[in-house]
Amino acid sequence: MPWAAYGRKPATSEQALGFTLMLKYNQGMADRAAWQDSFDHSPTRPAQFETMSGVPVQPVYGPDGAELPGQFPYTRGPYASMYRSRLWTMRQFAGFGTAADTNGRFKELLRSGGDGLSTAFDMPTLLGRDSDDPLAKGEVGRAGVAVDTQDDMETLFSEIDLGAVSTSMTINSPAAVIMAMYVGVADATGVPRGALSGTIQNDILKEYQAQKEFVFPPRPSIRLVTDVMRFASAELPRWHPVSVSGYHIREAGSTAAQELAFTLANGFAYVEAALGAGMAIDEFAPRLSFFFNAHMDFFEEIAKYRAARRIWARWLRDRYGASDGRSLQLRFHTQTAGVSLTAQQPEVNLVRVAIEALAGVLGGTQSLHTDSFDEALALPTEHAVRLALRTQQVIAEETGVVHVADPLGGSWFVEELTDEMERQAEEIFAHIEAAGSGSMLEGAYACIEDGWFIAEIAEASYQFQSKLAKGDWIQVGVNGYVEGDDTAPATLSIDPAVETQQVASLDAVKRSRDDDAVRQALARLVTEAADPTVNLMPALIAASRARVTVGESMRALETVFGTWYERSVV
């Protein structure tokens, strides 16, 4: 039977042979019986798995001997049953104004059935600057929520049981400081640390390459990353301490293959850093997660996700010696491409986002953020955010694409593109590895220090701009089908009073805290920062408890770690 449909079938004797299955699994051989066993042991959503016209649909398709989802190297998906068990998490990123404003939005989200919170911090917080810092002027509470002290963090999560929700915090340079504040809130509200569940982005390498929210030089920054990883491993078993992110690399202008390769190379660098910090591979690798972009070239994006899973599985097993299946399964969040949105004829962005989101789903994403159509003009309005969420719901409920795992697997085109993505990524890995004399971590440092990543991304983004300029690539409404009378939708504006309020509340905290305790906490931070064998998390938690601000902790660390400046090369 060349094209068998694998569904619920009678169990075979092979099912019981766990050892045989494990052996085959480790050899990367497709094993129908093993797949069937995993599938049968996975929960099934209450849904009709058939086409609109009533044709029954199997959970996966492919010829005998073809790779199956949930099996090494996971090209077809990390799990045997994929969306039949559980849809992706529809996780919309939000944060604005003061901690109290965002707390209100969080509580509303939880009341309406959400179970995951995703926190956007404002630019000063992301750069480790307090709201009263001269550099923060005009940016407090604008693109996210302002957090200066543990008091703000307590307000942000006020009346929310941190043991019962999953919280995602998108922050990098000050990740350890913010993580310490979150733990501080749990300690203060009697939630056991072990009950905390969520993700902190804590991916510093892509900051030097693309997002540019760096503070310290790369090496001490990596020490902070591994301090959070070690702390999470010891005390926060349900926490994801790093989300390795390609999203920003792509937004900065890279190609799909560069996004794939730089991101996975960064992942390998974190693996090497954690191994170097004395952790065991299967102790931390299952808690690493990824974050990719969903851009407009539909099949290339799907091929990128498939290649990512395959490459990660191979490298983790063959190069880093991981044996736990969860260490090999790349799981990822997806966000649609902000940079693909146009200010011209902005309603058309709804169509772009739908196509990009569909690519993420067909590529097997575990969670998804859909951009709002007005984001090329301003921060999104509530109306636009709702339409973005509805887009995901249409894909989930109306299209039927969720019935079958990896529905494009076996397409000659998609398989070829997947191989090509992998081939291009391996070429890039070879460059980085050579730059690091055999180490991916040293290679990352070297290619950051000589500006290689930035130059590669800038060149790719210039090439794309040139295609637009020459009309070799048509962007509807921009260099084709231009209307000239683009009507602007209503946009969101942030009340400038937020900055004044936040500065006043920071001032109140500073006046009411114990100054001796603050001095002692900062002195301890400086002493321990100078000793790379010490994990800084306990000192940061103590500082948070003493109401040391984010900016004060960061400046104290900066006296030891130094400051990173980007080489101004165009």
Partner: protein, 136 residues
């Protein structure tokens, strides 16, 4: 100032925003068009922009903003230049809601370049804004 001299453009990110893709592309487009581009890059303040404008004898300043802080930061750049006795025109590029454009112009911003601006539009806007200064 010699009429033969190429237009000197300072391009910079003001404040903390790190979205520098547009700035880098604009720098290359202007360089390809024969301008002399001074790329100040990330995290510039009004003071550093004014100082560089003087040191580098700049004809026009381009600042890039994507984080919603343009109404605060862009007029501050203009004010800082004027306080130093400079009439150097300032162009803003990035995410600016259409309703904010008249506010920026009233605050002394010479022009605003939004997402999707073509290469020709970028060059024409910069040269037009620089022209009165270059003639002076």
């Amino acid at each position: 100032m010699s009429a033969e001299r190429p237009v000197r453009v300072l391009v910079a990110k003001v404040g903390l925003d790190g979205h520098d893709r547009g700035l880098r592309i604009v720098a290359r487009i202007l360089r390809d068009a024969g301008c002399e581009v001074i790329y100040a890059g990330l995290r510039q303040s009004t003071d550093t922009i004014t100082a560089t404008t003087i040191e580098e004898d700049v004809d026009i300043v381009g600042v890039s903003m994507h984080n919603g802080a343009h109404l605060t930061l862009a007029p501050a750049v203009v004010d800082s230049l004027r306080a130093a006795g400079l009439d150097t025109p300032v162009i803003v590029g990035g995410i600016v809601p259409p309703a904010d454009i008249p506010i920026l112009k009233a605050a002394g911003i010479a022009a605003v370049l939004g997402p999707g601006a073509s290469n020709e539009e970028v060059v024409a806007t910069v040269l037009a804004a620089a022209a009165p200064v270059a003639r002076a």
